[in-house]
């Protein structure tokens, strides 16, 4: 693997891990506050899975540069994260949280199926592991999209409000990173344009079936993962608070 490919792959794995970690954290903010006990538990399970998947991607990065996954999550400054705005948004209401999770799960279903075929073994193995677990996510959040869209006037209104924010930001989640071109050329990553189209089509089909037409595809703006937004700072301040106060806090 050339130095160019290695550094591009480190960025790609870090971006994927950061997205999983931050979304898992946002979902976990509902723990103890869910509208129903069953749904509280379900969302806590989804949060736990996403954080587990962050561990997979940080682990795959670690095989390239030896970085410690715990240090990447808990000791890295906000400036060095590569998360996108889509996952950084505050949790919002229940409709916002479930629609975001549904859109994320849809993207993961498309991207993981492709990454599973990557010739780079650590990437393919992590994708294969995560993809099976994601089956449970999409079944659950897909059901919630129908329930919210076809439920009451209020659930529909709240869902459309959520989509107003989420749909334009969805592009940033799926968009290629500056180094992805090198990886696609080296055969490590799938064609990102095809992935983007497949993700938007799949999400749109499910949303339209729930009478939540999101409108035209999100604009292909830059992913802006290198921009430090206030939401990212606020999230990491909470996520890293204990580790910063006591770096020796061994295990809990």
């Amino acid at each position: 693997m050339t130095a160019d490919v290695t550094s591009a792959l480190i960025a790609r794995l870090t971006a994927m891990a950061d997205d999983e970690l931050l979304l898992g954290h946002r979902d976990s903010e509902w723990t103890g506050h869910g509208p129903l006990l069953e749904e509280d538990i379900a969302l806590a399970n989804l949060a736990q899975d996403e954080i587990g998947h962050a561990v997979l991607w940080y682990g795959a990065r670690s095989q390239l540069d030896g970085a410690d996954p715990d240090a990447l999550a808990f000791a890295r400054p906000a400036e060095d994260f590569l998360s996108c705005a889509f996952v950084e948004q505050p949790r919002g209401d229940w409709a916002f949280t479930l629609l975001r999770q549904f859109l994320f799960d849809t993207y993961e279903a498309e991207v993981l199926a492709r990454l599973e075929r990557s010739p780079h073994a650590p990437l393919a193995e992590a994708a294969a592991k995560a993809r099976r677990e994601e089956l449970f996510h999409l079944r659950h959040t897909g059901m919630w999209v129908r329930r919210l869209g076809l439920g009451t006037e209020e659930s529909r209104r709240r869902s459309l409000d959520a989509l107003q924010v989420l749909w334009p930001l969805y592009h940033g989640l799926v968009a290629a990173l500056p180094g992805d071109g090198v990886l696609v050329e080296a055969g490590v990553l799938p064609d990102w344009e095809t992935l983007r189209g497949a993700t938007f089509d799949r999400a749109r089909t499910a949303l339209v079936a729930a009478e939540l037409d999101p409108g035209r595809d999100p604009d292909p703006t830059a992913a802006e993962r290198d921009v430090v937004r206030e939401q990212r700072r606020e999230l990491l301040a909470t996520l890293q608070e204990v580790a910063r106060q006591d770096p020796e806090a061994a295990a809990w």
Partner: protein, 182 residues
């Protein structure tokens, strides 16, 4: 279990190869004392998470390598299983190294039939075998582990741990957990 290695060792005829086979057999036996902390009735060997036990050459003392794979990637029991597996084999007086691999990914098809029965007796409906068709197994009918009634309903696709869902039995009215097919 009757093994040729055991028979040879009992006959008092030993060679280094026999010693190695016996040691590995003892390591497997020791690993059967390690339970999944979240399901204390089944051990990690019958759960299918111990992928290999090998003797690494070229060390002063015997070095046994235990290869483990996680069930769910976010399973919090993994570190405890790694630690307990290390301790169990270490107690045989050998050096131990525990390695964790992701591939091939663990599936509930790796759980032995005997362990499935133990799960059922413990009150957890075991996962159906799916040979890769997970979604079909997920939607297949599930029998109540208490009264065997075939009509049970999904109440929550998520439960007390990542590997379980919650169901209710139309026969006895009890709520129970099912180990999800993965």
């Amino acid at each position: 279990m009757v093994t040729l290695a055991g028979a040879i060792s009992r006959a008092g005829v030993r060679s280094p190869a026999d010693d190695a086979a016996t040691l590995l057999q003892r390591a497997w036996t020791a690993l059967r004392t390690v339970k999944d902390p979240e399901i204390p009735v089944i051990d990690v060997v019958e759960l299918g998470v111990v992928r290999a036990v090998t003797l690494l050459p070229d060390s002063a003392r015997p070095l046994v390598e235990v290869t483990i794979t996680p069930t769910f990637s976010a399973c919090p029991a993994l570190h405890e299983i790694e630690r307990a597996a290390y301790e169990a084999v270490r107690a045989l007086g050998v050096e131990v190294s525990v390695k964790t691999v992701l591939s091939p990914p663990w599936t509930t098809d790796d759980i032995t039939d005997e362990a499935r029965e133990k799960l059922r007796a413990f009150g957890i409906a075991p996962p159906g075998r799916h040979e890769g068709l997970i979604e079909i197994a997920l939607d297949a009918p599930v029998r109540c582990p208490r009264c065997e009634h075939p009509d049970t309903r999904l109440r929550n696709a998520f439960g007390s741990t990542l590997c379980r869902e919650i169901r209710t039995c139309a026969g006895c009215g009890e709520t129970f957990e099912r180990f999800k097919p993965l």
